[in-house]
């Protein structure tokens, strides 16, 4: 009985860890305290903000397609969850790349609202 409880607890913990893309939309919206806008997300994604790159420089303006790293040429699999089931399923990975890529394109971290907007747009792509 005790053994079964442990197994159940482990399974529950494992289940709770795996994220789905919508979890990130809710998380960022909650942090931002405002509703996300897919339209704002689309604009943010494709506009350069002072730096050399926009998000689209590596992920393309249509992220259901594969991209290419603007500096090294390495292929990047599609960012939109509709085209790539592996995307936005691991919080550590999502946080790591928002940190790195926002730094590279904006010279600062992205705000919760910017991340929520990007998520809303990416989730709207078919």
């Amino acid at each position: 009985m005790r053994y079964l409880l442990i197994v159940a607890a482990v399974l529950f913990a494992a289940g709770a860890r795996a994220e789905v893309p919508r979890d990130f939309l809710s998380r960022f919206e909650k942090e931002a305290g405002v509703a996300a806008s897919a339209e704002r997300g689309a604009r943010f994604f494709s506009t350069r903000q002072g730096g050399e790159w926009s998000c689209a420089s590596c992920h393309t303006e249509k992220p259901t397609q594969a991209g290419r790293h603007a500096k090294t040429e390495k292929a990047i699999t599609p960012l939109a969850p509709a085209a790539n089931a592996e995307r936005f399923t691991d919080a550590a990975k999502v946080d790591k790349w928002f940190r790195r890529n926002c730094n590279d394109t904006l010279n600062r971290l992205c705000s919760a609202q910017e991340k929520a907007d990007v998520m809303a747009w990416l989730l709207s792509l078919k």
Binding site: H69, K71, T72, E73, K74, A75, T77, K96, R99, R100, N101, N103, D104
Partner: protein, 150 residues
């Protein structure tokens, strides 16, 4: 009695044995040891460069400033960074002559690399190759496939 090789055998030698003997020489593409964290993290933006192509000092230098990594942020959390750093150090080039000549450590500016890659450097200067560090543009095969991470 002398057995002259048949045409088929010659073709075999040229097609199979030559690439294999070359591979045995540049076993840089086959690290003595594998490391999943290194392969996943260091292959995200370029191939995971073979540890045996830079000396330990250069790897540790690279690992100590990942937040400013050749113009991009490649920062990692501490545990992973230390784990990958230790792997690179263990498998680094024993030979100091592989040290690069640039202000930042670069495989592509080491003397041996420049000597072996005159053709590549010409293509790069003409703008036909975006980056000399895009090894996979020219080097193909299963060993390098494993280093592209996808």
């Amino acid at each position: 009695m002398i057995n002259l090789p048949s045409a088929a055998q010659l073709v075999f030698v040229l097609l199979i044995a030559v690439p294999f003997s070359a591979a045995a020489r540049d076993d840089a593409w086959q690290p003595r040891e594998d490391n999943a964290a290194w392969r996943a993290e260091c292959s995200a933006c370029h191939i995971a460069f073979p540890p045996a192509l830079l000396p330990a000092d250069d790897w540790l230098d690279i690992m100590s400033r990942l937040d400013k990594h050749y113009g991009v942020d490649a920062s990692l959390e501490t545990t992973l960074r230390q784990q990958i750093g230790a792997f690179l150090e263990r498998n680094a080039a024993a030979n100091r002559s592989l040290t690069s000549r640039d202000d930042v450590p670069r495989i592509t500016s080491a003397d041996w690399f420049v000597r072996k890659h005159q053709g590549a450097i010409r293509l790069w200067r003409k703008g036909k190759l975006k980056s000399l560090a895009d090894c996979a543009a020219c080097h193909k095969g299963p060993d390098i496939e494993r280093m592209t991470g996808n």
